[in-house]
Symmetry: C3
Subunit: 154 residues, 3 copies
């Protein structure tokens, strides 16, 4: 089954990818590796970028939801980089999940699972990846989660 | 000399690798690169996962020891990923050493040396790697150190 | 035009690369990828290593300047690793920009642009890269910015 078909079956619509916040590109390919820039969650239903800190106002459930949103943005950026053809994804290699977190927060894996679960739903076994899920003192614009990923392509 | 022989000579016993704390895998291979997930230290002599923050209770000496422990867990995970054959390691490429640290902590390199020194002991010159050693606001479960690594394999 | 010629035209002099602060190397090559260790800014005009935190004393303008300085150190380290020949750089692949930042700091991209802008000035379109710009709780020696980079070489 094609990835696009699976997205349809899962009723997943990919968000728009906003412009880079600096002098960089969304994705850079070298050989069969595609490096994605770190992404934040898509705008909320109020049209605003989510803000907040895990362990200081943002719940684990909301963090999971934000991380899933980041995953959607990443898949949209991957699709852009691959000329619209997600079937060129051979596998997700490595995820760095960065949580905007209070000094005593301990549940980063539960948050980043939002992105990891999505990758496995969409890409199947090839979506399984190596990962770190860690706590940052702060993130651009105060977003609760930022995730970067390396993808193998064909 | 084989890596296993060197481990024996150094009287190093590899720890068990615990299950992933989320929906990911310990290691993912692409081409001749093996990406390892971020790992924490093995359980202490009290059977509990170490906790604490550098610059706020955990000494540099203990941090070094924890980082060495993380290195042992990483070598065990590499061995698992390579079907038990550590001689397939061509070299350690890149280490990201993440220290659970207070805002004014400055000695991250002295902590992460615990892992770097181990890699050079075990893999010799091929164990030398590029590295960053930096301070996180928090880490999963409150562990003092988390390290991820990229290894070149044959 | 050669990269050296462009450096001359831009009146850019590369700084000395200080020794590693631990048991690691400045750069490690695997295949056509060169992984650089995380670097801090060069010493200031007072001969001392810059210190301080964004959002807690260091301005965005100074942060940008420090990030540009880190970029210069990285280019110097790349040159060393390539036997002095910067024309062997095929492209900058990935930048991880780590800002020593207060918990409420939000302008990491504006800081790390100092490095990204430099890479594009020096390497042209090939200098454009994937990137994350994030906030760390602390950095070695209290430096305001640390950046690591992956470069494709020929």
């Amino acid at each position: 089954m094609s990835v696009e078909q699976r997205l349809k079956d899962l009723r997943i619509a990919l968000p728009q990818v906003g412009g880079p916040l600096g002098n960089y590109v969304h994705a850079k390919q070298v050989g069969n590796l595609l490096y994605l820039s770190g992404k934040g969650p898509p705008d909320g239903s109020d049209g605003r970028m989510p803000k907040g800190k895990l362990g200081a106002g943002v719940s684990i459930e909301d963090g999971y939801r934000h991380a899933r949103g980041v995953g959607l943005v990443l898949i949209a950026a991957i699709k852009d980089a691959l000329g619209g053809d997600l079937d060129r994804v051979e596998g997700v290699v490595k995820v760095l999940g960065m949580v905007n977190a209070a000094p005593d927060f301990e549940d980063h894996p539960k948050v980043i699972n939002g992105c990891s679960d999505l990758f496995v739903e969409v890409f199947g076994e090839h979506g399984r990846h190596a990962r770190s899920a860690v706590g940052m003192s702060s993130l651009p614009g105060g977003i609760p989660v930022e995730i970067e990923v390396i993808v193998a392509i064909r």
